[in-house]
């Protein structure tokens, strides 16, 4: 994953971005505290162009995830650093931290960051919270996250493992939202309608 991100970034960003990133990841590896000023600067050095892969990612997302992956920390110490970066991050930095979580050796220690993101009304953060690290959300919080995506018009393709984890309780919640929307004369997003159909007929 980390190698493919580096390759995707190299294909997209201008050459100075590569050298900035190489120098910055080396600095973070030697001096972890430096990430506090390098993480916010990533977009200014690597740009914000969309990457071909993963879908929906930008160059600055990839650069920030690579910086986080370069931290020479593990477990509780890494989790503490990551939580501080999220706490003081702007919206783009917060999104990058959320996207990096599955690739960092933090176990389930950062699951509360997903709760924080899911409490916001920022579609970028809500979407980023429903990636593969959302495996650490309990079922109730995960279903609320899915429903919040539907409610905010975020495509359900952002939800990792939707097909495997969607259950009868989620179907009940989706049916409730569909009934409210119907009563109000408003449409449900097509992907949510398809999911509800699959859960109730499959």
């Amino acid at each position: 994953m980390i190698d493919s991100l580096r390759a995707a970034l190299s294909r997209t960003a201008a050459p100075p971005a590569d050298s900035w990133l190489a120098a910055s990841t080396a600095r973070v590896a030697a001096e972890p505290g430096a990430i506090g000023v390098l993480l916010p600067a990533a977009g200014r050095h690597c740009g914000r162009a969309p990457l071909a892969d993963p879908p929906g990612w930008r160059a600055d997302d990839a650069a920030r995830v690579l910086l986080l992956a370069a931290l020479p920390l593990r477990g509780a110490a890494l989790a503490e650093q990551v939580r501080t970066l999220y706490r003081y991050g702007d919206a783009d930095e917060k999104r990058a931290v959320l996207r990096a979580l599955p690739w960092l050796d933090v176990g389930d220690r950062c699951a509360d960051l997903l709760h924080d993101a899911l409490r916001t009304n920022d579609t970028r953060l809500v979407a980023a919270a429903m990636g593969s690290y959302a495996a650490h959300l309990d079922d109730s919080a995960w279903r609320q996250g899915v429903l919040k995506c539907v409610f905010m018009g975020i495509p359900l393709s952002v939800v990792d493992g939707l097909g495997e984890r969607a259950d009868g309780e989620l179907a009940t919640m989706l049916a409730g939202l569909a009934a409210e929307r119907q009563a109000a004369g408003r449409a449900m997003p097509e992907d949510a309608t398809a999911l509800l159909h699959r859960l109730t007929t499959g």
Binding site: P40, N121, D122, T123, E180, R181
Partner: protein, 283 residues
């Protein structure tokens, strides 16, 4: 008419305002960190506020096709409260952010020794972070406050072209013009400056280093007074290019010194996609 409002407190405004501003030609703005009417009592309420200036507020602005930037600082009024001064060590974290294009609002409120110290310390931050500085001139004892602010700026080592003194009027404009600093004017419904007076000042002092803002906030103010000033300029014989210079190119030049302005068009897809959250979704 394309408008860059170089000073407006959107945190206090509604989505109706964003909609009207976009319709009037506002495409970009800077929201300076200032006080919120209700005094704060801890660092936490400052950092939550700063988080909003680099998080939620730019997101909200983007729904209306408006690029939102901000300035970060401890304001002069709250610099007098020791509980608030504890925010100073946290400022460098925020001054590193993409959307932060200056240190501000700094300056004087009551011209106390505490304000002296905090003002100078924050101009030093502007120097080390290579950012411009936005200086608020006081409501009371304004002429002497402006004079004293210019002295502090001169001592700071910041080049004058990286500094704007804001909320100027007929009495304070001359000495700021002479200093080489930028001149900011807040157009208000009753106080500070009106569109006709602004036009008279532009006639007398020219267009160079002039910034016109609405400074709209939680008080009686109007986010469309930038556009009204543009109209007043046209009615007084200024050209479309003159208006564009004052309302767009000048603020771009001043804040562009941060190297962090993002004036790219907002993608339609993002606006539509993100729009749902402001519309609140639901039934």
């Amino acid at each position: 008419m394309r408008i860059f409002d170089p000073h407006i407190h959107m945190t206090s405004r509604t989505t109706d305002d964003y909609e009207r501003m976009a319709a009037a030609g506002v495409r970009a703005l800077v929201e300076p960190a200032f006080w919120l009417g209700q005094p704060r009592t801890s660092v936490g309420s400052f950092t939550d506020y700063f988080d909003s200036l680099v998080g939620w507020e730019p997101f909200r602005a983007a729904q209306f096709g408006i690029r939102h930037h901000c300035t970060i600082a401890l304001n002069p009024k709250e610099a007098n409260d020791p509980r608030c001064r504890e925010v100073l060590p946290v400022l460098p974290r925020y001054l590193a952010k993409d959307g932060v294009v200056a240190v501000g609002e700094v300056g004087y409120d009551s011209m106390t020794p505490e304000e002296d110290e905090v003002f100078a310390a924050q101009l030093a931050l502007a120097l080390t972070h290579e950012l411009p500085a936005l200086v608020h001139t006081p409501h009371r004892d304004k002429a002497r406050g402006t004079e004293r602010s210019l002295k502090v700026v001169a001592e700071s080592g910041l080049p004058p072209e990286r500094v704007v003194l804001d909320h100027l009027n007929e009495v304070t404009v001359q000495e700021v013009a002479d200093s080489g600093c930028w001149m900011g004017f807040s157009i208000y419904p009753d106080t500070k400056m009106s569109p006709p007076r602004m036009v008279a000042i532009l006639r007398e002092y020219g267009l160079e280093r002039m910034l016109v803002n609405s400074a709209a906030d939680w008080g009686r103010s109007d986010p469309l007074l930038t556009a009204a000033t543009g109209e007043a300029m046209l009615a007084a014989g200024f050209t479309d290019d003159d208006v564009d210079r004052v309302l767009w190119r000048n603020p771009v030049e001043f804040y562009g010194q941060s190297q962090r302005l993002d004036l790219s068009e907002l993608a339609g897809s993002e606006t539509t996609f993100a729009g749902s959250s402001i519309l609140r979704g639901g039934s």
